[in-house]
Symmetry: D2
Subunit: 121 residues, 4 copies
């Protein structure tokens, strides 16, 4: 965890967890052979339409964090990811989820590519 | 909205809304005569224990945003705020809420000061 | 200053000043009748090619900051802004500058629009 | 590079480089057996008193970046680091430097610990 991500309580500012969730889902997609960068190049964008988190224990500067991510729902045009942020494998610091709509570059709804839907199912 | 808050979709990165919510509750507290800075000086801290948001319409660079905040629950040691982020008074861009525990500087639970509880009730 | 902008030293993280400088130059442009958003719509982008800052006194949460900005150099394809971040009008917290190249949406050098050059001169 | 770090030009927002520089110097210190976290626990803080950067090529989402860091000056109470941000080992995206004063928790100047000075020399 970066110094830039601390706040004056000496812990990670809660807003940063949503950027960490993004790292988690990017890594999950990549582990399935999907590059989010390439998805965007194919005009598939997955903006966040809902996000939530529960903060159980604080994260501190220099903590090594692990983000565990799984897909909890996938439909024609939506996908939901769930996350656990852990320290040292042992302690859950936070849990959360994000829901995403598939849209094109103009923000119009589109279907998730079949391949992506199958990979995530 | 700041250029720093955009992402490559050309809209506000969703993680930034949680910092905007913070501006909303700081302003609400201040309108009730409570300075969050002074609360902290009295060893009352209100870390976020849960946060959620729904993103309805994107915010764009240079948009003038309004954050409407209200207290939706207050108990001995907890308080919950609800938010609406609006543009131009007309369009709701996002809604959300944050729940906070009252703790001292060491992170131990403490009661919300009576005055604060009354103000927020 | 936002809570999100503090770090665990209890002061503003130095990287945030560059986002504040951006607010300063946006406001300066606007005071000259130039909207940076409209500049971009006309395919004029002003990416930062160099930035520097000196940090004299720390900024604290809830400080009301003022950013004073002036143009210190303008040529066919470049412009440099200088900044002072002040608190309460009295104390200089930081000084800095940013240099910008004019480019089009593909990153190719282009001349600053004549009108902009005249306004900034 | 994180999606959160992009801006609407589709590249890394320049203010983020200063957080990356911080990662570079933390790693350099660690490679010398010095944990910045432990330094702070010993009441040695190294706030940034000056920072500068030159941005040569843009960084894009999902780029794997390398930060090369070296100490360019160290005296009784100050230390300066220089940085190169590279992509793929080949391309320099940015260079920069940060200067730091050694202070205690109250912000008063103090000498760098002898051991640290020797390690960095």
């Amino acid at each position: 965890m970066r110094y830039a991500e601390t706040d004056q309580m000496g812990v990670a500012y809660h807003g940063n967890y949503f950027a960490w969730f993004e790292i988690g889902r990017t890594d999950l997609l990549r582990s399935q052979g999907v590059s989010y960068k390439e998805l965007e190049a194919q005009d598939v964008h997955l903006p966040v339409i809902a996000a939530q988190a529960r903060f159980v224990r604080p994260a501190h500067y220099d903590d090594v964090l692990e983000i565990r991510t799984q897909v909890t729902a996938v439909s024609g045009a939506r996908v939901t990811f769930a996350y656990e942020v852990r320290r040292g494998g042992d302690f859950v610091l936070a849990t959360g989820s994000t829901s995403h709509a598939a849209v094109d570059g103009r923000g119009r709804a589109r279907r998730l590519p079949e391949l992506l839907r199958r990979l995530l199912a």
